[in-house]
Amino acid sequence: MSNHDTHEHGDPIAEIKKVTIILSVLTIVELILGFWMIGVTSEGGRLAIKGTIVILMLAKAFYIVAYFMHLKHELKNLIMTIVVPLALFIWFITAFLSDGNSFRNLRNTYDPHFKAQSTIKVEAKEGHHGEEGTKEAAPAKAAETEKK
């Protein structure tokens, strides 16, 4: 326990290789899921894939911080002083995302204009390149004039 840090744990080069492979595999799996999701239309299916991608993202973050940034081999004191404050993110994410979600639901219920705005279909522009693309948010404006 106390003979920490200064001692190398196993072969560091082997550890670097292992973590590189893990990170690459996780990234490839993420990309496969991303490609797969293009064809998935059901809301639940998309949500499940997105959840998996988020878990893989957190796994990647763990491997980068723990091994590349060497935090796993530091003293527990140092680990705690970094990781414990970051736990605030759990609350931030929960609170803010549910607040955003609630705001959308409230607006959809009580703001008919907001609801109507988000049901008007607009034309997708043909070929984004060229002069017409430089005009600012043309579809949004078209929808607004339609309302009036």
Binding site: M1, D5, I13, I16, T20, L23, S24, T27, E30, L33, G34, F35, I38, K50, I53, V54, M57, K60, A61, I64, V65, M69, E74, L75, K76, N77, L78, T81, I82, L86, F92, I93, F96, L97, D99, G100, N101, F103, R104, N108, K115, Q117, T119, K121, V122, A124, K125, G127, H128, H129, E132, G133, T134, K135, E136, A137, P139, A140, A142, A143
Partner: protein, 228 residues
């Protein structure tokens, strides 16, 4: 493993004075705290993005927006291809950075120089990719306050998408740029034997922490903007 009593007495000794309770040098502890504060800044940006996205009914489809790559024709439809190259560039440059840190621990100047050069090349390659992507999107009419892309469900979009995209990838790109500058300074200091004279390569470790953090943030930015 030792029993609980000895473990706790040994742990308590870290705070009895005479040595650093974290057992790392001051600069490294401060780098960790800086990175923690930076994590909160990026977290605030990404959570704001998530909140706005959750409070809106429609959102542009990233596979429609990011579907091109350099030297591709007009009608290219290759979602995720270019960004996966960018992601791998950053992962590999992170690996070369770890190798540089490891070489520094071994007092292997040649190894440090070689791996720092690889890391710098990786950083510049990533920045070039991002410059191309920004330029491409700008040509399509996307910028702060301008959004040519309609929502995935075919409804009119707001400028929130582009505002968040350019702000967050821009802030990350600025971090990559600073990281490249720091790495170049570290390379020059290595080449001028400054670390050899000091007898340790701890500066490389601190620069390494920063560089890995940049890679770490990209993991989140990449997932939030391109995959979800």
């Amino acid at each position: 493993m030792s029993n609980v009593t000895t473990a706790s007495t040994k742990e308590a000794k870290w705070w009895n004075g005479g040595k650093s309770p974290f057992d790392v040098e001051y600069g490294k502890v401060m780098m960790w705290y800086f990175l923690m504060s930076d994590a909160f800044t990026f977290g605030a940006f990404l959570i704001a993005y998530g909140t706005v996205r959750f409070s809106t009914n429609g959102w542009p489809n990233p596979n429609e927006v990011f579907k091109s790559y350099p030297f591709a024709g007009e009608g290219t439809n290759a979602p995720l291809v270019f960004v996966s190259i960018m992601t791998f560039i950053l992962i590999i440059s992170s690996v070369t950075m770890v190798l540089a840190v490891h070489a520094g621990k071994m007092m292997d100047k040649k190894g440090v120089v070689r791996n720092m050069i690889f890391t710098i090349i990786g950083g510049i390659a990533f920045l070039s990719c991002q410059a191309w992507e920004w330029n491409h999107l700008h040509h399509e009419g996307a910028w702060w306050g301008m959004n040519p892309f309609i929502n995935a469900d075919g409804t009119a979009s707001s400028t929130n998408f582009t505002n968040f995209f350019f702000t967050i990838t821009g802030f990350h790109g600025f971090h990559v740029f600073s990281g490249v500058v720091i790495n170049i300074i570290m390379l020059i200091m290595t080449l001028t034997n400054q670390f050899e004279k000091r007898g340790h390569y701890l500066m490389i470790e601190k620069a390494g922490l920063y560089w890995h953090f940049v890679d770490l943030v990209w993991v989140f930015v990449f997932t939030c903007f391109y995959l979800l």
